[in-house]
Symmetry: C2
Subunit: 464 residues, 2 copies
């Protein structure tokens, strides 16, 4: 274990002796809700300001051509049971920053956490990284203020980069979107503005056990942290924490080598075609546009809506924007099992239309509730029944976590972590493979491998 | 060093005691030229059979919609000095196989090398991997024979996969093309057909010192081989071989950690935009179509031509197809330098329109001769003068190597490997970084990082 990993692990194991006592974390969070005034109202598309449907393509765009747009894609694939469909998709070609500033305080690394309002958030405010900024944001296309702390990420000459990589977002909703996930460490004192506070990693992880408190952006950044093994740090707790730490140690034996996993993944990408044609939103087949939304004829999947927002603590105090509203809750579950004493995660190679590279490594189960509730028995996603019928003692983690509130309207997914029992099948379908946590972390490092659902679920597992 | 790496290294160091004596390699190669009859003729587009310009888009396509097509792209980027241009590009969405079968013979790993004809090849025949097959090839869209040895790559239950990953091809010519680079090892005897023979890796590397003998496909597959360090194998030779082996050992100290390199690369991808819009070939601005070619108004860059081919040893004995003809020779050079006794390569983050992911890691210099011969002094590519003025004692490798003869008409690039002298600048531009050979190999493993020019040049460096 290198020094950096040890520092992260120590922070992850620290609840007491933090700048803010752990008992005060949730009260501070709720105080931020009370301190601000927010208002969100669904509006007809005609009341959008600076946003509109392009006369030619029907795409929903900002007048500057920046931020994001809602366009159409035509998908052809030999993966899954539907060979061809059209759908709206969010196109946001700019890479934004998702970044934490960290600092050692009394020997323990603290993260500068932001209580951030996003229009689509459940709870309106959620805990976020220090900085969340698209390029349109920080080049100030909206002519508002520059986001706080941006300067620390632009000029990194007085800080140390702990990691810095591009990571994907939801392939079912975004067209090849990625963000720059970065953690920097400063040594000098920096101002702590209103709505920001220092927390240890352990405190952030603890908070993820509550529903919808830590936002997607914070979870994906945290997922990029490698912990190495546990040598040099005493973990007194038994159970999942110790088991997870053994799985995070790259020196421990895995069922498959990284090269064998790359070969397996190569076979998946070789086998499955994904043809994506960008088409005007106007001609997206099976979807209709009303005054209030763009929706699928069946009422399923998601719709695009418009809303007006007022907030007293954002760079701009009121604005209108489109949001994507899911019609079904999602289910995201990892099944894990020990092989020769080392916990392995059952990873799925999953094709989604907006993926950067055909398939990404996904959790054991990742689906919409509709896809199994209404499906014929033979069409139910693999392992869904195992997950839904798990005994309480097998369930290590079960919370609702939110998707990005800047784009999605109150979207939450059930996140589950299930320990497989003796009855779990030995054989898995050919697009599944067992991997240790250390291996998942290694693939996260080289980006474009592990999808956002798998990363976020992995990041929410606490050691204590 | 693991066992697999040791086996590859032993093969790379073996010239004597191989199945075919090294003295017979080149005679065998020339005997294959003599054994076959090939004919290539440039024809007008109107004489193409089964290929034609689409009435609507003007794209040049096969009637089956398979193989590849010549389409247009509109490029917008803030990288380099030209912010916007149109160009034709080869679109070949199918992933093909580039694969070697290997087998231990008398304790040394041998590669089953093919003397393969491709219409655009200089020398018509070049040494190639055992199998080179697009999906259209092996699903037999052309209704010819199935390629020899395909079955070993489809059903791998009787062989061991030594590696298997997707690797990119030229980003200036192909739209996000990748191939599956794979080496398998068999234990049982297999037939050796006409035009195939067993060679050690050392013999293949030796052959790369000649111009245009080993094709691009063989070189890219070989570039994926990791050698580890040299422990357990005695390398008696001093000089570049020993120095290269130290650089290939991942345990030796590098100037930058892999994570620091990922961070540097993230910054490059963050900074540079690459907007690619697929457009019909018909409207590609600045290019014109005549009876005989599609070419740039300036006569520069490349043109698309048509040719008729006759061959007696291919799956189909005569056919017509388009080829891309370069108008300028390219220059590909790595500058390397020792840091604390370990050889480092000066790697460039280079944006090319067909790149899968904006930028790839490229050699120190990668350009067309025209781009420096005609350029104003301030527009000459970095390090071009250092490379062109290198003293003979600094030049470790200087040959002409071919691009893929199935798509390119007699295209060759000068490949150079230069040892930096004391006079080499300490400071390099911000899109350059020093990496060891072991680090380049690690990034090749996780694909989409190292471009085909860097990989092929790296693969041609022999230890002996």
């Amino acid at each position: 274990m290198n020094n950096k990993e040890q520092i992260f692990l120590r922070s992850a194991l620290t609840l007491e002796g933090a700048v803010m006592s752990s008992a005060n974390v949730m009260p501070w969070f709720w105080s931020r809700q009370d301190a601000h005034r927010f208002r969100l109202e669904k509006i007809p598309f005609s009341e959008l300001s600076k946003w509109g449907f392009d006369a030619d393509t029907g795409n929903l765009c900002h007048e500057s051509g920046r931020f994001f747009s809602i366009e159409g894609i035509r998908v052809k694939t030999n993966w899954g049971s539907v060979p061809e469909w059209d759908q709206p998709i969010i196109n946001q070609p700019e890479i934004g920053f998702l970044g934490f500033i960290t600092k050692k305080i009394d020997g323990v690394l603290h993260f500068l956490v932001q209580a951030k309002m996003e229009p689509g958030n459940i709870n309106m405010i959620q805990l976020a990284p220090t900085l969340q900024a698209t390029r349109s944001n920080f080049t100030r296309v909206h002519q508002g203020k520059s986001p706080p702390y941006l300067e620390y990420f632009i000029d990194r000459s007085n800080s140390k980069v702990l990691f810095d990589s591009l990571q994907s977002e939801q392939g079912a909703r975004f067209l090849r979107k990625r963000n720059r996930n970065i953690i920097i460490e400063v040594e000098h004192d920096i101002p702590v503005y209103e709505d920001y506070c220092w927390m240890t990693l352990g405190q952030v992880l603890q908070t993820m056990r509550h529903d919808n408190i830590v936002n997607m952006d914070a979870r994906t950044v945290i997922s990029c942290i490698s912990y190495g093994g546990s040598d040099g740090i005493q973990v007194t707790q038994g159970g999942l924490g110790a088991s997870l730490l053994r799985s995070l140690d790259p020196l421990n034996r895995s069922e498959y080598s990284n090269e064998a996993i790359i070969s397996w993944f190569t076979e998946q990408k070789f086998k499955y075609d994904l043809g994506i044609e960008r088409i005007p939103l106007r001609i997206v087949h099976g979807w209709e546009r009303t005054d209030m939304c763009v929706r699928h004829e069946s009422g399923k999947f998601f719709s695009v809506i418009a809303c007006a927002v007022e907030a007293d603590n954002r760079e701009v105090s009121s604005w209108t924007q489109p949001l994507v509203k899911a019609h079904q809750q999602g289910l995201i579950a990892f099944v894990a099992k020990e092989f020769k004493g080392i916990l392995h995660f059952l990873v799925q190679a999953k094709v989604e239309p907006g993926n950067f590279d055909v398939a990404e490594m996904a959790p054991t189960v990742q689906c919409l509730t509709g896809s199994y509730e209404e499906a014929a028995p033979e069409d139910r996603p693999p392992f869904i029944d195992y997950v839904l019928n798990a005994k309480l003692e097998q369930v290590c983690f079960d919370t609702l976590q939110s998707e990005e509130g800047g784009r999605f309207y109150r979207e939450e997914n059930r996140n589950l972590f299930i320990l497989a029992g003796e009855d779990f099948p030995e054989e898995v379908p050919e697009n599944y493979i067992w991997m240790t946590a250390a291996q998942l972390k290694e693939f996260i490092k080289y980006n474009n491998f592990v999808n956002v659902q798998a990363r976020c679920l992995l990041s929410s597992l606490s050691f204590i």
